[in-house]
Symmetry: C2
Subunit: 205 residues, 2 copies
Amino acid sequence: MMPVMTARAALSANRGRRGEIVIHEVLRATLEELARVGYRALRIEDVAARAQVNKTTIYRRWPTKLDLLRETLRTLLHQDDPTPDTGSLRGDLIAFASRMVAFLGSPNGQVFIRLMMTEGADDDLRAVADSLRDEKEAIATRLVERGRARREIRDDVDVEILLSSLVGGLHHRILVMTPSPKKVDVESHVDLILLGAAPREKMPR
Amino acid sequence: MMPVMTARAALSANRGRRGEIVIHEVLRATLEELARVGYRALRIEDVAARAQVNKTTIYRRWPTKLDLLRETLRTLLHQDDPTPDTGSLRGDLIAFASRMVAFLGSPNGQVFIRLMMTEGADDDLRAVADSLRDEKEAIATRLVERGRARREIRDDVDVEILLSSLVGGLHHRILVMTPSPKKVDVESHVDLILLGAAPREKMPR
């Protein structure tokens, strides 16, 4: 016998699934339009046509272009991925940084980089990028503080300096120095900085 | 008695000085136009009008808009400043990084940052910025290798990782994390990285 399900529940489950598909298609279409024309020139009607949905369907969920940008970038940047928890600060930072490097080297990452390089001065884009970055940074800060609580780094190490040296160093390496992110050795970046942050008595090698 | 100077030499010296003034005025006008309209929309006639010189005067020295961009950015980025030589790698890196931080916080630095944020994907702009960055990086690499020769860092430290962690870390701090470059403590950035790069037996503190 089939599990019991009322007609209304079945309808609502179907709607839920259909809703997810629509969200997925709209975000994918937005990303493609961002890649094609950027943010300033982005038009909701073009997104709707590409996603094969009604404009009103988009406006109902995302009242403004900025809302649509925000959710698209959230998805793009894997904003809801779980926080690394490997048991050591080194492992956590390598996991965190490896994801970032993989993203920057991916086609989606290239769209994002290009967007920031062409419209990085746009107020909306900047505000959304800043707030997503704040979220990521809060995660990374928690990793570092957890490591500090385990005495993996010294008490006097400034978490902002540590993280900017790691994140900024990898960005610089990938976006400025080395054209191929595949060549970037994440572990060596983490090790240089963690060695600089290590308690004297725990200094490796 | 006046020093001996032929009429021709005097004329030529005057011309030289007048030439320098023209160069200075044209580069200043180019920078102001870059700040106003960016690179793509830059017009030689607007630069000429602003510098109060003839268009042909500009074309004689800078045959293309790209040539004008290159020399303006060279001047802007203090490309010809002397290499730091304080006697220690720490001192040299602090001097090198402090200049960079001071530049990024200056009005000229702001023009440059804005230009890269709005037209960083432009091929010409990117090529010029890359080549100027290569020059700066070559200088920084020499500083690090000089320090390595003095045994201030380990043999196994990768100079690219060290420099990207310092330069990228400071960029990240200033352009992404902290709105005010004045609050960035250059010495702490240098110390974290140099501590990570130090020979074990020389580890400070």
